[in-house]
């Protein structure tokens, strides 16, 4: 899971969607006309056009009343099929989950585990239920011939598809909402008692429902209680990320720092006590009295150093247009934790050249217009330095950000719940559509495959298609397995191998198409944002998931309509 997605560009997304959708419709339409012309002669295209015309008519004469009637029946059907028994499983899991979550861990880690568990449970209990319901509804109606009683009424086929999708979406909304609320209360109760604030009844209630996002409890001198910042346990941070470039030990610009041996190359390291630094540029707009900076750097030691003292880090505010460098006081980093620093509007520092203390204005003296093509706006440049010689400090772009006022945990949590619901709507759309042209088991397999590939195998598929994954296509992999030939060995240059690789290319192009048809569903899963204490960003996650759901819903309804129209409903 990365928090570093590009924001969703609505207009570009819409344009791309129209291009793909239009192209797809155009190709199918042309192909159908040509096939009809070939089989039936001139009467073929006429029949196709009449179907298209019928479709246009049906879609422009939709009846919300009839759609709702189908939806209502769908909801009743779900009820009859005991879909809501899923609550029993959910309740069972929630009752005993606390036993298996480690209560010894640091509080933020406990919250992380609890939030992840609650949201993952909601996700993976809802999806199978909705998947089965949506894939088996229409085939079952066809089997028991109850659909005959519907289609003989003045109900259009598109209304059946839409009613089904709407009905199942309503069922999933109910399930997800109830589970979400129960999960929320459960997460609140998971925070250890001795970390619960000593609040008045009203404040406790407000905190419980997430209306107090950021409360600082003062130390109680009577009870000798330490000050507890409740916000450190449950909140949703609003980060503003910047750009990152590295400066190496010689002072030259570099795109990456040093790899200290981590397998995961997410972070790069800078060497302490040298010219090496990490240069962050943040776009800033209106001046404020105080900026809150937060970082999550990692330390790597090449020698023991001073045991008991963490690495020293320093921020330097830089305005290259005025050749102004303002070093801020150094601090010890807290690894895998929040390092919060505040910068006031007026910054005082000791000027090495003048040998005197100077005061500068953060926005007037340090913010400057950056001519870089990527930015082209006012920026604040902050250099991060490690002061311990021989030690290394690791960072990624998202490890350092300006923190805006926090949002409530409630808001972030329910955005993630909304994401789960959107995913169920997506699944329902695919499931209902698939069930219009294949039987229940096949529709289930198809929808399940879309879900699994979209959730976890997309990266692997892209590697296969682009050739990044060693070992070749399916035939070559099979050949290598049988001959015990590992994927680093070159194949002999024979005709057989060329034929094998040729077949693989054809098969992989099918995979290429699949990879482009099945979307990346990971953006629907927003729990990592909340679990890590971040708000779910609208641009990066919410709009993307919403647009993806609508983007697939429209063609699904269209395909479902034509499948149901053209299908022989007598078939079993």
């Amino acid at each position: 899971m990365t928090f570093d997605r590009d924001p969703f560009a609505l207009l570009t997304g819409l344009r791309d969607w129209l291009l793909v959708f239009g192209g797809f419709v155009g190709i199918i339409f042309s192909a159908t006309i040509l096939v009809a012309l070939g089989i039936y002669g001139t009467s073929g295209p006429v029949a196709v056009m009449s179907r298209v015309w019928q479709g246009l008519h049906d879609f422009t004469h939709l009846s919300p009343k009839r759609i709702w009637a189908i939806s209502r029946l769908t909801i009743l059907e779900a009820w009859r099929r005991k879909a809501l028994w899923v609550f029993a499983v959910f309740a069972f899991l929630m009752m005993f989950a606390g036993w298996f979550l480690d209560s010894e861990l640091r509080v933020d880690m406990q919250v992380k585990n609890a939030v992840s568990f609650a949201l993952t449970t909601v996700l993976w209990l809802t999806i199978p239920v909705l998947l089965l319901l949506s894939c088996w509804g229409i085939p079952e109606d066809i089997r028991v011939r109850s659909l005959h009683t519907v289609v003989t009424k003045p109900v259009r086929r598109n209304e059946i598809v839409m009613g089904r999708i709407l009905g199942f979406s309503a069922v999933s909304a109910t399930i997800v909402a109830i589970m979400g609320v129960v999960g929320y209360v459960w997460v609140l109760r998971q925070v250890p008692e001795d970390h619960q604030p000593r609040l008045s009844g009203w404040n406790r209630l407000c905190l419980a429902v997430g209306l107090l996002p950021n409360i600082s409890i003062e130390a109680d001198p009577k009870n000798d209680l330490p000050a507890i910042d409740v916000s450190a346990k449950k909140f949703c941070r609003m980060p503003v990320y910047g750009t990152l470039e590295f400066v190496d030990r010689e002072g030259a610009i570099a795109t990456k720092g040093i790899n200290t041996g981590d397998i995961w190359e997410f972070r790069s390291y800078i060497e302490g006590g040298t010219k090496a630094s990490a240069r962050y540029k943040f776009a800033v707009n209106d001046p404020v009295d105080q900026l809150k900076l937060e970082s999550r750097f990692e330390a790597f030691r090449t020698h023991k150093g001073r045991i008991g003292q963490s690495l020293l880090v320093r921020y330097v505010l830089v305005n290259p247009t005025k050749s102004l460098r303002v070093p801020l006081p150094s601090f010890e980093i807290k690894e895998f934790s929040l390092n919060e620093q505040f910068i006031n509007r007026e910054v005082s520092y000791y000027d090495e050249d003048l040998k005197d203390t100077r005061t500068v204005d953060l926005f007037k003296d340090l913010v400057y217009f950056d001519e870089d093509e990527k930015l082209k706006r006012n920026v604040l440049q902050i250099e991060v330095q490690c002061l311990d010689s021989g030690q290394y400090l690791g960072m990624a772009r998202t490890d350092f950000f300006i923190r805006l006022p926090d949002r409530s945990f409630l808001m972030g949590y329910f955005k993630a719940v909304f994401g789960i619901w959107l995913l169920t709507v997506f699944i329902v759309s695919i499931g209902v559509t698939a069930s219009t042209f294949v039987k229940g088991p096949v529709a289930t397999m198809l929808t399940f495959s879309v879900l699994i590939v979209g959730q976890g195998f997309r990266d692997f598929m892209i590697k296969l298609v682009t050739g990044e994954q060693k070992g070749g296509g399916p035939i070559e992999s099979w050949y290598r397995l049988v001959t015990h030939m590992n994927d680093t060995l070159a194949l002999p240059d024979t005709v057989g191998v060329q034929i094998m690789q040729g077949i693989d290319k054809v098969l992989l192009s099918g995979l290429w198409l699949t990879q482009h048809l099945i979307p990346d569903l990971s953006s629907f899963v927003m729990s990592p944002y909340v679990a890590n204490g971040f708000d779910v960003p609208w641009g990066m996650a919410m709009f993307r998931s919403l647009a993806m759901t609508i983007g697939y819903l429209i063609p699904c309804v269209l395909i479902g309509y034509y499948s149901l129209t053209l299908r022989e409903l007598e078939a079993k």
Binding site: E104, K112, L311, I333, F336
Partner: protein
């Protein structure tokens, strides 16, 4: 014939058949009550061959349920979890990694190597990833608690007990952060939760880490009596409770404690080493020996008579076992250290260095000279100590400080023959360059 029966009669026949078939199942499968010989034939066989879940240790119902629910897919599930665990470790998602560790162990509660590996992973690998000493200690505790949980679930297995003791002793007492860790063991850094006391889960009585480790090593030895361990030679494995006592006494000296508590610790160490470990019986293949056997002529004679081995062979065997466990050295060391005079020698050397650090050069010189003289007497009395690295380095280090004091005071260094402990200096001169480098790094070059 069955076609001639009525429906009612057929049902009755089926019922009687079911009951008759169930009888042997019930008789064979009656569960055990926990008492010896109780239960049906299957329960008794299970007990006899140690095959039951309950005979392996404390039963975790969740774990048993998970394994049943997964049917034959446990191996697949474990593989997936282990891959997930590795990925979480690579990506430094510690909370999730800890939770995945628990899931793995739910599926493999009696796979000893899994407990050992994952316990080590938490206490050593994960703790090293954190920069703050308090955080590192937290993960050492996590690893220790995990191993303790493992020993509870597999209370017949000596190896997880040994690992628990080893983590408590070596990781807390010997790592780079040992000074902090040993303090944290008695006063946990999470003062909010433990109110200035120890983490009661690993140290209920607030004892020294080596003494707690000693208890766990003792449990390992007790378990080893019933089921043999497979990680090292018996003579080494069995020496650990006594070694822990030795480490405890040594740690007190390392921390500058030379009082009666330290002396008693050495006294206890001598007792544990000679009276307990030295009397343990080991099967060599040819005969049964114990390490103190040469001091008991009767025992030697009896063993030779019973096993038919020659005196020469028997002495060789004993010597081999003594060498493996460094027995004679530790016997000499603990014997020397339990005396009040020896403690005074160490105190003089230690205090000499402390005085040197605060620039009390006269007092430091006096203290060092007194200590070095005493040290010479000590080494002359216990020849076994003259082959020990730490004993040699302690003497050489004190000489270097003594020389440095002369240098700082611009005094003419006394002739070589007047160097206290000169015999040791001459004998171990090859060690001096390396040691001098460490000395220069700490106190500056000459």
């Amino acid at each position: 014939m069955i076609e001639q029966l009525t429906l009612q009669q057929r049902k009755l026949a089926y019922l009687i058949g079911i009951v008759l078939l169930m009888l042997p199942v019930i008789l064979f499968g009656i569960p055990a009550t926990g008492e010896e010989g109780s239960g049906g034939k299957l329960a008794r066989l299970r007990q006899e061959h140690d095959l039951g879940e309950s005979t392996l240790g404390k039963v975790d119902p969740t774990s048993a349920t998970m394994n049943l629910v997964l049917l034959g897919m446990r191996g697949v599930a474990v593989n997936l979890l282990r891959m997930q665990l590795d990925e979480e470790k690579d990506q430094k998602q510690w909370a999730q990694m800890r939770a995945t560790t628990e899931s793995v162990i739910l599926l493999q509660p009696h796979y000893i190597q899994v407990w050992r590996y994952l316990g080590w992973n938490l206490a050593y690998n994960v703790s090293a990833e954190w920069d703050a000493v308090e955080d590192r200690y937290f993960w050492v505790k996590e690893g220790t608690k995990f191993l303790m949980q493992g020993s509870e679930r597999n209370n017949r297995d000596p190896e997880v007990y040994w690992d628990t003791g080893n983590t408590l002793g070596k990781k807390i007492g010997r790592s780079d952060e040992w000074k902090h860790f040993r303090k944290f063991f008695k006063v946990d850094p999470d003062t909010e939760r433990y109110k200035g006391g120890p983490d009661s889960e690993i140290n209920q009585a607030g004892n020294d880490n080596y003494l707690v480790a000693k208890d766990w090593f003792q449990k390992a030895n007790d378990a080893d009596e019933k089921r043999a361990q497979h990680i090292m030679m018996d003579v080494l494995f069995r020496s650990y409770p006594a070694r822990s006592q030795l480490d405890y006494a040594d740690a007190l000296h390392r921390e500058g404690q030379f009082d009666e508590t330290a002396r008693k610790a050495w006294d206890g160490a001598y007792h544990d080493w000679v009276e307990v470990f030295g009397q343990m019986r080991f099967q060599t293949g040819d005969c049964e020996i114990f390490l103190e056997m040469p001091a008991f002529e009767n025992a030697m004679d009896q063993t030779m008579a019973a096993s038919g081995v020659t005196r020469d062979k028997l002495e060789r065997e004993i010597n081999l076992y003594q060498n493996v466990s460094n027995y004679r050295y530790w016997r000499a060391k603990s014997h020397a250290e339990k005396h009040v005079n020896t403690a005074a020698v160490h105190r003089d050397l230690y205090e000499g260095e402390q005085l040197f650090k605060v620039n009390e050069l006269d007092a430091a010189q006096e203290s060092l000279e007194s200590g070095l003289k005493g040290y010479k007497v000590l080494l002359d009395s216990y020849k076994d100590l003259t082959v020990d690295d730490s004993a040699i380095e302690e003497g050489l280090w004190a000489i270097m400080i003594w020389q440095k004091i002369y240098q700082l005071r611009n005094q003419v260094q006394p002739p070589e023959e007047e160097i206290p402990l000169r015999s040791l200096w001459d004998k171990e001169i090859h060690r001096v360059p390396n040691l001098q480098q460490d000395f220069n790094r700490k106190y500056g070059p000459s």
